[in-house]
Structure formats: C-alpha cells, structure tokens
Subunit: 329 residues, 2 copies
C-alpha cells in the first residue's frame, strides 16, 4: 500500500483536495456538513498530513521558539520530556521548533513566529517584552497575564497527596517546597496551607522547608532539620527529586521509610517507581502538557481566540507512604 495522501482522502470523501485542506486547517468557507463528512473520512483512514509538504506549501514561514526558562531548572528530566512533546507536535504540524538559550536575543524576535515559554518566573520582564511586542506567546504554567497558557492542577494535586497522608493518620506533615520563584511553587504551598487548615491542623512555619527543587537541596536541608530535632511523621515534597533527596536524608539519619516517616513526591518522573522504596507521588501528564502547549500555539497562529487549559493530576500510591505507626523510635 502506498502512502496515504490528501488526494486519497479527497477522493474518498468525494470532494477536492482544496476542500480537505481547508477542513484540516480550520479555515472558513466550508459547509458544516462537508466538514464533518471530511473529518469522518480522515479519522477513518487515519490520515496524517505530511509535515514537510505543509511547511513547503506554507512558504517555510513558521519557526517556533521554545524559550527561555532559567538554565537551572533544565536539570530535571521533566524538561526533557516536556520539550520532546512540544517538538513532536510542532514538527508534526509542519513547523520547526528551536530550543533557545535562556538569554533571548533581540534578533530572534524577528525570525520566530511565536514563543512557547515553560517555567516562567513570576516577575519575568522578558515575558512583558513579548506581550508588548504582540508576539504570539504560549506559557506553560499558570500566568496572571491575559495570554494563552496550560498548566496542571497544582492545587488539586497537592491536596490529593496531603489527603492521602492525612487519611493514613499523619498530622505533622512537613512540606518541602521548591525555590519560591515560580507560580508552581506558590500554588503547591498555598494548597498545603489550605488543606492542612481545612483538616483542622494548625500551621507551623518550621514544617515548611525550601529544598530548591533538587535532590541535594532537599537532602541537606532535611538532614539539618533532623539534627535540630524537628518532629514530623510525613514529608510531602513538591517534586520527585526532592522526595528522593528526603528519603535518603531520612535513611542516612536512621529512619525507615515508610515505617517511621512517609514521603510523597510530585510529578511521577520515570525514576519514581525505581527508588527504594518506590515513590508515592502525584502524577502529572507531562507529555500532554507539551502537546497542549504546542496546540495552543498553532491555534494562536491560526488566529483563534486565546484560551487557557488546566490538566488534571492523579495520585499514584506506591511504597513510600504508610499508616502512621504508634511504636516509633
């Protein structure tokens, strides 16, 4: 069987290729009936337009920049997965994606037909610059400004983890936050406050530690806290890396996880099932996050309305969390 092209689709649907093209690109001027008709054929045949041909026909306009998050955050596998998903979608649609260095060069602004910006800081001036210049922009992560963005339900996810721990009998739950620089950190922290209060516990500042979003950061600050004699029976970390660092810190200090202390992570990165013990964590759909971001960008370029999307999270229970035990050391 030869390659499936738009011609075949057109023939099957009994229309011309021009019409099919318009349907596929959401262009106006096609009868709703014809549209659904064509879409039906497309999905039945499983037709996927050729990226190269689209790009060629469109006149090669269409380089989409993926930029600029802080250099430091790129240490996580999280970003690798996210970027790959973004690229995949963009390239499939016949655009080119280019990952740019954190330093946005002025000259780039003219070469690029849009920016996807993951991991934006709360006060990022570069963001304002892009908005000001009216350059198509999609932000990955919730954003106060009126731009299209995708985010996961950070608040809901954190609540899931905490309610899980609370149901297991824990009340002195330590929250390991990330660097207080992004909306994400803030949202998860806020959710911690809210959920603990709702459960009737009093908040205590000493139970909130900044683990800088890294294994090592979490490890160091937690060991330090343990040496000072801080008491708690569970750790709810704002990332899997920090959860892992916390587990090691606890183990090195002689605590058993989860028997003495329970630990939960956030993200469900590929290594989460492989830690010792395997990590109970909040799963977020990273690839879908990337796909959606790319999608929003394409919609934006096509002139559609600005919209925001929030993706759901889900609790994955593994072995790092257990009921509060009475005979603790």
């Amino acid at each position: 069987m030869s390659k499936l092209t738009i011609t075949e689709v057109a023939r099957m649907a009994g229309v011309s290729i021009g019409t099919v093209s318009r349907v596929l690109n959401n262009r106006p001027g096609v009868n709703p009936d014809t549209r659904t008709q064509v879409l039906e054929v497309v999905s039945r045949l499983g037709y996927v337009p050729d990226a190269g041909a689209r790009k060629l026909a469109r006149g090669s306009r269409g380089l989409i920049g993926v930029a600029p998050f802080s250099a430091h955050s790129s240490n996580s596998p999280y970003y690798g997965i996210l970027l790959d998903a973004i690229q995949e979608t963009i390239v499939r649609e016949g655009y080119a994606a280019r990952v740019l260095e954190p330093s946005v060069g002025e000259e780039m602004l003219s070469e690029v037909s849009g920016f996807i910006v993951p991991g934006v800081h709360l006060d990022d001036s570069r963001l304002s610059l892009l908005i000001e210049r009216n350059i198509p922009l999609v932000v990955v992560g919730r954003c106060e400004k009126n731009v299209p963005w995708v985010d996961i339900d950070n608040t809901g996810g954190m609540r899931l983890a905490l309610q899980h721990l609370i149901k297991l009998g824990h009340s002195r739950i330590l929250h390991m936050t990330g660097t207080p620089i992004g909306q994400t950190t803030y949202d998860r922290l806020e959710s911690y406050h809210q959920t603990m209060q709702d459960a009737g516990f009093t908040l205590s500042d000493e139970l909130i530690l900044d683990g800088t979003f890294t294994e090592l950061g979490a490890y160091r600050i937690l060991r330090q806290a343990l040496e000072k004699g801080l008491e708690f029976t569970a750790v709810a970390a704002a990332s899997d890396e920090m959860a892992y660092g916390a587990i090691l810190a606890l183990q090195d200090a002689g605590f058993r996880v989860p028997y003495d202390v329970s630990v939960t992570g956030y993200d469900d990165l590929p290594f989460a099932p492989q830690t010792q013990p395997s990590l109970t964590t909040v799963r977020q759909p990273i690839r879908q996050l990337g796909r959606t971001a790319a999608q929003l960008m394409l919609e934006l370029i096509a002139g559609n309305a600005v919209r925001q999307v929030v993706l759901p999270t889900e609790l994955v229970v593994r072995s790092s969390s257990a009921p509060l035990s009475r005979n603790r050391r």
Copy 2:
C-alpha cells in the same frame, strides 16, 4: 530580499539546479571543478537548503530514532543539550528526529531508517541486536564494535585536569568516578591511574569514590569519607554535577574551597560558572558532539564509509582550584 533558493545559487554559479542539488548531496557524476565552483557560491551566499522541500522531494523516507539511553542518565542537562544539537542537525537536513523511550520496541525498527544511540552501556544487548539486523547506527561514546561513533577525548581531558592540579602542588588527589557502567567512566578512571603513575605518585584505592554521576551521590559519599578522616587536598570529579556535590560536602564539613581543598569538574555545563566558587572544569564540545553524530548518520544513510571521530577537550580554569597551601587546618 526574498528567500534564497537553489535557483538563485544555480544562476550565480552558471549551472542548472540539478547540478547544484547533486553537489549538495555528494552525488557522483559532477565535474570536480564545477563542484568546487558551486560550493564556493553556496558558502559565499550562505545558502541553506530548505528542509521541508528536501524531505518532500525525497519522498518522506527518513525518520531517525534517537534512542535508548538509560532513563537515569537523562537527568543531566548534558543530555538536553546533546539531543537538541542532534535534532537541529537532522531536521536541517530534511529528516525527522524522534526521541524514543529507553525500551526499544521491535516495531520501531521497521519505521526508522537509523538509530543514534547516546550513552551506551558496555554490555548493551540492544546494541548487538541493531548491529545484527544491519540497521544504520551511530553511537555517541567510544565503542569497541565496528560501528561509527563520536566521542570526546576523555582520557586527554582527565589528564588536563590532573596535570593542572599536580602543577598546583597537589599529590593526594581524590577521583570521584561515575557509575561504572559506561566506557566514559572507565576511560576517565584509566586516565587517572595513568596520569598519577606517570607523575610518580602511588595509587591508593581509598582515593577513588563512586559518586554515581549525581550531585547527591557525590555529596553523600564524600561526607562519609570525610567523617572517616580520609586525607586529600584535591578532588578531580568525572562530572560537573559531582564536583558541585563535592564542593557542598566539603563546605558543609567546614573546609574552604579552594583554600583547603581544590575541586575540578568535567563537562563545563552551563551552571559551572555559577557555582560558589565557580568551577574549574574540562570543557567538552557537547553541541558539536551532537552535530557530528547526526552528520555520521547522514553519511551512513548516504552509503559512505564507517568512520569514527574523537573531539578535543579543553581545560577551563576558574576559582575552585588553587595552589596547595601549607597552613591547612
């Protein structure tokens, strides 16, 4: 000025576009004089062929898989940079690149016209599978098998770092290795042995610590060693991450870097200049590594001979290394 196309190049060189195309794709049957002539024009105008058009004309054959390194190693920013460089080159040549999960699916083998495999393990059975099936393959990292590969000069780079420390007066130099799973770890370790011996020092196994290629791994094992009273005046780490972990471990234990202990890294990742103190390290050309890997793949597909490439490394001296001081604590 409109877009620069092959037509313009042909006109400038006084030949037909067919000839230009043949030159650009290294196809036989074009006069050597004409060839250099065309190449001259191409480089003068700075002409870059349109990726989409190439892909289209070639009939869309050409998806190149970038796969499968172990999930764990993907935690480093190193891989992000490498993958981006590979993708950039491949896409520029009109092929598509797809980053695959570590688990190589059988079904993938038929869809893909070649594999680029970074971070191969010494005994990787999947590698043998690919060779057996005669699937075009490029390995990033030295490889015993007769396949095309690119690597950096690991041995030479380690020697540079060590000779730097030796020149500063250090003799008890600790080597922080990575997980003993890849050729890279082995090469750097071997170079440590060799260089120390050449300098007339006796080797001691206690001066070799496995930092698992991570910040946290390095931090934990070094703190442990310090508590046991291990004596040394310098640390030569096999990665920047481990060097950073080592610096923090030393500082947390009350040592000053570089006054009490010098530390060197390896890779020169983006964060290296930003540590406290900034990191003396061995720079490797990561992007070029990726570009070369992609290049070799394209050559392989074009039917050229298998070849191997070794890229040079370079010492970058910053503030984490200093002369051995006498009045140490």
